[in-house]
Subunit: 322 residues, 2 copies
């Protein structure tokens, strides 16, 4: 995908983008959150909103129209409510980018703006959903906002992130084994993150553990932790803390300080220690989630091997009617 | 609080409201979600955003300014990050409504628009945070949007909701005892909801159970359930399902159908069966959360009595430094 050309085409047809909607389900919805967080934090001309597909369809925003851009993502490309959401966006006159891994799916529809991505290990982050979204948004911001300062930093980060992820995956391999050895039989755990990476606490929970390991867990926002959830903390509870680099790190650090004092079982996945600092401070927060996603894959693989629970085993999804 | 006068004053000073920010922590943040969902769904002139206070402070939106309205809520009125968020809003020129139960707190600050609410059992819903927010938004919509159709329905709902809640609390009393009798020792449960009431799945989890009962649980969006989390479902897992009335009900019904087939332990709290249907269909979805909040109080009280774990017992909050 050539992000610059794609954005030129969108701007030519839609003049100005005022609303950006991020619409998908489950793991694909997770991938869209950093883009949403980026628009919500950085944009002077656009508003962002993040929806699970069915909710977008049953309660569509009044602003949805010609000056909207809708990011749609469905790995398999045929998720019913996501396809409905794409058509809703199109019928309202919005520009609709449909990302899918499946070229033979409903999402690869030339009446929209389909982007078919590859998902092999060798594929660069810039060509996977999180990277695609970030590149498109970076170009729109450049076109629409004269005050926009992050263009070069984001472009540079997109070049650097693959090397960072690769090194981090190597670095944590042994840690994931030790984690699985210690905690494979844990009945329950909490996963915390903040900022753009709250999405990764969510995805780690609902995809990597609940879906792929049938393990019970709960995602928490590190900032919200102190307003209720921390009351369960004790030496028997297990936590995974995703520590971002960026302005939101203060929330993760506060959670860590508390865990050090009152908990005993906690795993820290620290983006800073894992090398994310090679990316410019001005925009590093939008890259943490890419690294954390790779870490969730590493940890779930460690759990799979120890628990002998194949990551691809399903009892309902794609198996029964629902 | 006279919502009409308050809105007249805001419009006079700020001309037009374009952005409405809902900013608080924990249980207070829960109370602000239905207002956010209302703006996101119904408004043609405004955008809504919902933030935990610290995230609002560290990553404030660029749109925050003179044409913004910020709803702030802090029950005790001194939550540090919430007070910071209020000042940030004020310094950016926004209208800032600070809701608090504590007249002697930092939130009762006449340089903003303080609304001190009572919290006794006899206080009507219209004078508690969810009702205050809904009334203010109803007036703003009336002033700003000529197409707005829900004014009378919302006003009528605000009159009716107290009677509905009272009847429902009586109706479920025995059910909450039976629920506690059966599940008091359960190690873990999932709580599901959707639409405006996703907030109540969140609040039921983080406030009523994690904070007040030190019980482990996880909140889920009923629509997202099918995109990962349902893989853990079996006859041993416990679920509470908040079934809304309104367009989002289809998501809750789909979850119920699945639970009936594959689970055995689930408690349905059905707003329709509990009388929410007395409120007009056009806006009933914004009242479900008020009813569900009362239900979460009823269920946690049942659990408190059976588990002999006082709802007000804390080991960290207000007890230690953090």
């Amino acid at each position: 995908m050539n992000a610059k050309e794609l954005v030129q085409k969108i701007i030519k047809e839609h003049e100005e983008i005022k609303d950006v909607y991020f619409v998908a389900c489950g793991g694909s919805l997770v991938d869209l959150y950093p883009g949403f967080y980026f628009i919500q934090t950085e944009s002077e001309t656009m508003h962002g909103a993040w929806y699970t597909s069915k909710e977008f369809v049953i309660a569509p925003p009044k602003h949805l129209g010609k000056n909207s851009l809708v990011f749609i993502c469905s790995h398999g490309g045929n998720t019913k409510e996501t396809v409905e959401a794409a058509h809703l966006g199109k019928n309202r006159g919005a520009a609709v980018i449909t990302m899918t891994h499946n070229p033979d799916s409903a999402c690869n529809d030339d009446s929209m703006i389909p982007v078919v991505y590859d998902w092999a290990d060798t594929v660069k982050e810039k060509d996977k959903p999180q990277g695609i979204v970030l590149r498109v948004l970076n170009e729109i911001m450049k076109v629409q906002e004269s005050n926009y300062k992050l263009y070069d930093g984001i472009a540079d980060g997109i070049e650097k992130i693959d090397g960072i992820v690769r090194a981090a995956v190597n670095k944590v391999k042994n840690r994931t084994w030790v984690f699985a050895e210690k905690y494979a039989d844990e009945s329950f755990l909490y996963i915390m993150g903040s900022g753009a990476s709250y999405s990764q606490a969510y995805g780690f929970s609902i995809c990597s553990l609940q879906e792929m390991q049938w393990m019970d867990c709960c995602y928490l926002h590190s900032g919200e932790y102190f307003h209720g959830p921390f009351e369960v903390t004790d030496e028997d509870h297990l936590y995974i803390l995703l520590m971002s680099k960026g302005p939101n790190r203060v929330m993760d650090e506060r959670a860590l300080t508390f865990l050090k004092k009152y908990a005993k079982k906690y795993e820290v996945i620290d983006a800073e220690e894992l090398g994310i600092g090679a990316i410019d401070d001005s925009c590093v927060e939008y890259f943490n989630p890419i690294l954390f996603y790779a870490m969730s894959v590493a940890y779930r693989t460690g759990l799979q091997d120890k628990r002998r629970h194949p990551l691809d085993m399903r009892r309902y999804m794609g198996v029964v009617e629902y």
